[in-house]
């Protein structure tokens, strides 16, 4: 009892020191806390501002109309645009060059030219023409949005005329234009639902794209912190003092891992906050498709899903930290440790890419085995299991990654417990003998 209290006290002291050291390091503070907290919302803000500008210019869109026709359909078109919220700038001149010069220097989005026989052609059941000159002011998202808005309005006017003609011919416009009405629905977990599959895929894709990215970020961050923490003990020549303290080597190792987890969690929280604001910027404006309520279609993950995902994430994070610690034990300084760590990033990226674009069950057996052997595959499988409800593979993954982590931790503890921690090193550059 007393022994474990002493161990706990030592561990707490070590973790507090690790966190203090890391958070006070300007590189770490800037890179993992302040950076994501500032840069992502700043990017989001920029996107939001540009979207707002686009929306604003669409709301206050004004077009110039040169009317050579003067007939009833020309008036109908003008009224239609006006009723849709477009401000109409009537032109006193009918010279397109003069109007173009005026438009370029005002906030006019486009110039619509209605030719002479516009109304006559439409009245006779023929085809009429309209010309649109969009005012180009240097491109950009906002500008392209207003161009398509003018086009859409003209298409809507055209649709209205089509419907009118069909009704006049005693035909049902829906039956003519859309003779087969297709209702797209989905089967989820063996049950039919009336949810559009496109909407469903959009939601699950956003999870599959967003989630691996978040996991990847957290894992790489934690690995960098853990390896920096170990390697800087060597670089700053503090390791020998630490190893001569009345502390078990396992406690030192656990302190390093726990300190890295705490700082990585702070970094992850900062990033998630940044991402939330960043993503929030995209949801601004009218939504094209109604969001899918995953709960209604039986896809909302239950408590067990979250527990399994949390456990899978935790063991994967620990395995990443253990790998980072073992790798950095071989390095002489922080730079060396970061270089060595570069070799393990590939196995982390690999499962993420593979699982975003393919289903693991459709891959050849050999590839599947390789992917399953990589611990970082498993939290992504667990994330997918939350949607599919197939938790068996996720639980199996947790057990595997836990065993993998224990083996790596055992190796790390063994190295820590021997003099190898002071004597072994992989040098980059010229070798140097060190007897003393």
């Amino acid at each position: 009892m007393r022994r474990s209290l002493v161990l706990l006290k030592g561990l707490r002291n070590l973790v507090a020191k690790e966190v203090k050291e890391m958070v006070r390091d300007p590189r770490i503070l800037l890179g993992i806390v302040i950076g994501p907290l500032l840069i992502l919302p700043f990017m989001g803000l920029m996107i939001r501002i540009s979207q707002e500008t686009a929306m604003e210019s669409m709301r206050n869109m004004s077009v110039a109309i040169i009317d050579f026709d003067g007939g009833v359909f020309a008036q109908n078109l003008t009224d239609f645009l006006q009723n849709s919220g477009v401000r109409i700038e009537r032109q006193s001149t009918s010279n397109i060059s003069e109007v173009a010069a005026v438009a370029q220097n005002s906030n006019i989005t486009a110039v619509i030219v209605i030719p002479k026989d516009f109304s006559t052609n439409l009245t006779n059941g023929g085809q009429a023409e309209v010309e649109i000159y969009s005012v180009f002011r240097g491109g950009g998202v906002a500008e392209s949005g207003t161009f398509s808005a003018v086009n859409s309005l003209l298409r809507a006017f055209e649709q209205k005329l089509t419907d009118q003609r069909l009704i006049e011919a005693s035909l049902n416009p829906d039956a003519v234009l859309d003779p087969v009405d297709i209702s797209a629905m989905s089967i989820v977990r063996g049950k039919p639902t009336d949810v559009n599959p496109d909407a469903l895929f959009a939601v699950s894709m956003s999870q599959f794209l967003g989630f691996p990215f978040a996991i990847l970020f957290l894992i790489i961050l934690a690995m960098q912190l853990a390896s920096t923490s170990v390697a800087s003990e060597k670089e700053e020549k503090t390791l020998e003092t630490l190893l001569s303290l009345p502390l078990s080597r396992f406690t030192i190792l656990a302190g390093k891992l726990a300190g890295s987890v705490v700082v990585a969690a702070i970094g992850a929280a900062a990033t998630i906050l940044g991402v939330v604001y960043y993503i929030g910027a995209f949801s601004f404006g009218p939504s094209v498709q109604a969001p899918v309520d995953l709960g209604q279609v039986g896809l909302a993950p239950g408590l067990i899903g979250y527990v399994i995902l949390g456990a899978s994430l935790f063991v994967s994070l620990m395995s990443a930290l253990a790998v980072a610690v073992v790798i950095s034990l071989f390095a002489e300084d922080v730079r060396g440790a970061q270089s060595l760590l570069g070799f393990v990033y590939m196995p982390i990226f690999l499962p993420m890419l593979a699982l975003i674009f393919t289903d693991i069950n459709t891959l050849p057996l050999a590839v599947r085995i390789i992917l399953l052997a990589i611990p970082f595959t498993h939290p992504m499988l667990a994330a997918r299991a939350m949607i599919t409800g197939d938790y068996f593979i996720a639980v199996l993954g947790i057990v595997y990654v836990a065993v993998f982590t224990l083996v790596i931790l055992y190796v790390a503890a063994r190295i820590f417990a021997t003099e190898k921690i002071l004597t072994m090193r992989i040098r980059f550059g010229k070798r140097r003998a060190s007897a003393e």
Binding site: T241, S244, L422
Partner: protein, 243 residues
Amino acid sequence: MVYAVEAGDLGKRFGDIIALQGLTFRVEEGKIFGLIGPNGAGKTTALRIVSTLLLPTSGSASVFGHDVVNEASEVRRLITYLPEEAGAYKNLSGYEYLQFMGRFSSQNGEDLAKMVEDAASISGLGERLRDKVKTYSKGMKRRLLVARALMNKPKLAVLDEPTSGLDVLHSHHVRGIIKKYVEEQGVTVLLSSHNMLEVEYLCEKVALINKGKIVAEGAPSELKDKYKASNLEDVFAEVAGLA
């Protein structure tokens, strides 16, 4: 009699390099014992073995009767080790560093506060202890580390080149600290140095090491008399066959 340190026929190899060959010495409790010799003689290796950081290839060593290999955790409870060129955590303040180190051996908050107070006085750094270690000069850092090594009144302080790289003033301060602390607290010190004049001033007993072997051992005055030398440097030159 239980010695503070007892090394018997200690040997250490690093691959093809023989760092120590048959080192035997004893350190009495409450004394300052110096291992002296040139760079590469094996002093640091011997101190690292006593401090449980390296394993001997042959022979044995014990601290207050505890074997450094089989009872390493017992030994670590009795010693503090100051490595040569040691650093401190640069993003902590001097006070925070002392508190961090003190917590591993203090019994309670009061005990810790006393330790840190002692260390502050030993280091003589005053208000600068509130500043981050990265703002310290080499001499200030060494004073902080020496204070750390002595603040918990260890049974044995192992100090590897305690004044290494320090200027005259800082060296003088550090030597004064060690001598005073041993006299007042009864701490045993095992130190290494290649500065033989310093060792002559500090140590009651010295062992001269060359190429991993002890070439002479005794009190500085005895050795000087024996080899009819005016200082330990001359003794070393004589026994190492350099004279």
